[in-house]
């Protein structure tokens, strides 16, 4: 108790009259640049995006206004509604798939492997998170294409050709390439935090492997699972490369609608409306999952 109090007290050397200003200056010098930076290049652009949704386009130029027409037009338009439903559906399915594939892997890495092997796996999983996603999507494109590695191999075996590119399969392969490493890492870290003696105690008390999983492991990493699921959904929902290159933008997702609208140059306000709607949906998804995992945590106690 005392130690903790002393620690928070002793954050600066006792300053004198001569240097009384110094104590306030250093944090300001450190904090102001980064605060202004994030304000100028992240917060303001996002706010500006929201503002633009109310602006008008007149003879190809943006004009400040307060016009709810953009919102009305976009939200009631069939292409948007279709894209919204489709994108949500795609993201939900991809997230579910990702969780189902990632969990056994994370379980194996966190609880089944030796310390060294686990560290190697974590290192291995971090690499794809930070190495060019667009190249990997391209690689899947050529692998799955009609003349690609898979079909050539099938032909060599005398099997019929399959149309792999342009469907749910190729899309999910692309999205999994994006989400699997991150989600597996999140679940692995969550599982590493589980008290192993808890699992052993459960086994010792006669619980089967499945029972341990459902009754002990999963409840223990509830918030980790929530975070992993939200991450998977967020990444799949906002992705652009996989839908473009693996399904040929057909049907278009919300991200594709945004890029097409922006690049065509005329309908900025409408693109902004789509963007802001996406942000709202993602925020809702985040809050919902947070609420679910937190509430259950409370209820379990």
């Amino acid at each position: 108790m005392t130690a903790r109090l002393e620690k928070t007290q002793a954050i600066t050397p006792a300053g004198g009259r001569t240097r009384a200003g110094n104590r306030a200056v250093l944090p300001l010098v450190l904090g102001l640049p980064v605060a202004l930076w994030q304000l100028a290049f992240f917060v303001l652009p996002v706010i500006f995006l929201i503002v633009i949704t109310f602006w008008k386009v007149r003879s190809f130029r943006l004009e400040p206004a307060f016009d709810l027409g953009n919102w009305e037009k976009v939200l009631t338009s069939t292409p948007f509604q279709r894209a919204l439903v489709y994108t949500t559906e795609v993201a939900a399915i991809a997230s579910l798939l990702c969780m189902l594939i990632a969990f056994p892997a994370a379980h194996a890495i966190a609880l089944g492997l030796s310390e060294t092997a686990r560290r190697r796996w974590i290192a291995f999983l971090i690499i794809p998170v930070f190495s060019s996603y667009i190249l990997k999507v391209y690689a899947w494109q050529v692998v799955l294409s009609p003349g690609g590695v898979v079909n050539v191999s099938l032909a060599a075996l005398g099997l019929p050709q399959v149309d792999l590119l342009g469907g749910a399969l190729s899309l999910n392969i692309g999205l999994l390439t994006l989400t699997l490493p991150v989600v597996t890492l999140i679940l692995t870290f969550a599982l590493m935090g589980v008290d192993r003696s808890l699992l052993e105690a459960a086994r010792n008390l006669g619980a089967s492997g499945g029972q341990v999983l459902m009754q002990v492991t999963l409840p223990a990493i509830r918030s980790g699972v929530g975070l992993a699921a939200v991450t998977a959904f967020l990444m799949s929902f906002g992705d652009y490369a996989s839908p473009v290159f693996l399904t040929g933008s057909n049907p278009p997702t919300l991200s594709i609608l945004i890029v097409d609208t922006v690049k065509s140059g005329s309908q900025w306000p409408r693109a902004s409306v789509i963007g802001v709607s996406m942000l709202v949906i993602l925020a809702l998804a985040f809050v919902t999952v947070q609420f679910l995992t937190q509430r259950r945590a409370g209820g379990a106690r």
Binding site: P45, F48, I127, G238, F245
Partner: protein, 262 residues
Amino acid sequence: MMRAVIRNLYLAALAIFLLTPMLVVVVFSFDANRFPTLPWGGFTLAWHREALGDALIVSAMWNSLIVSLGTAVLATILGFCAAYLDYRYRFFGKRSLMLVIAVPPAVPVTILGMAMLAALSRTPMFGTPLGVIVCHVAIAVSFAMALIRLRLGDLGDDLEQAAWNLGASQRNGLLHVVIPFCRPSLIAAFCLSAAVSLDEFMVAWFVGGVNETLSVRVFNLLLGQVNPKINAIGTLVLATSLVLVSIAQMSARVGGTRKDAA
């Protein structure tokens, strides 16, 4: 026994799935065939040579170099400031500040790109490497801050106080004790920020205008026909990412081991 076999097979399948796209890019960059498929058309460096002879690609390389380095330097500096601020001080608005630093990577890049383009198109930074840098920093500072903050958690109060006690002003304590102590994490933050910037294509595409980075060049090539040069650039990009991320990981691990001379 059986369980272990199944487990290892499962993990191996995952590894193959994650490695395949990267290997495809690298392997076929040396394939003499124009279209990357089987059977193997023989080893060639032609595509690499051709890529290096392509003026657009070479200028994209320069742009990527500038943008990645600039992003890495700035994100590391700002990330350190943010991490130290979070570690040392309590102030009004701290939570909000940490939030606007942490959140950008979670926003879909299409939306981020659109917002940044909308804001930057009204400034002279639009269409320049600088414009891409400022946007990439806003994204990468989140990773830099996280890595450095992790290391600061191991610093403890004593080393800094010992420095003050030995005559170091707060500024000198920061310079001669905190920063050297954080060096491994600064290296990690630098490399990871560079990797993030190198791989990001959407914001760079929106904001960079004609100044394409390598990832944007790849993206633009992809929008056209299959081009074996993509594999060649891709190999370069992947190798660079691999090196950067590996250095970052090794440095972060050095930082992760608790100070051995307390």
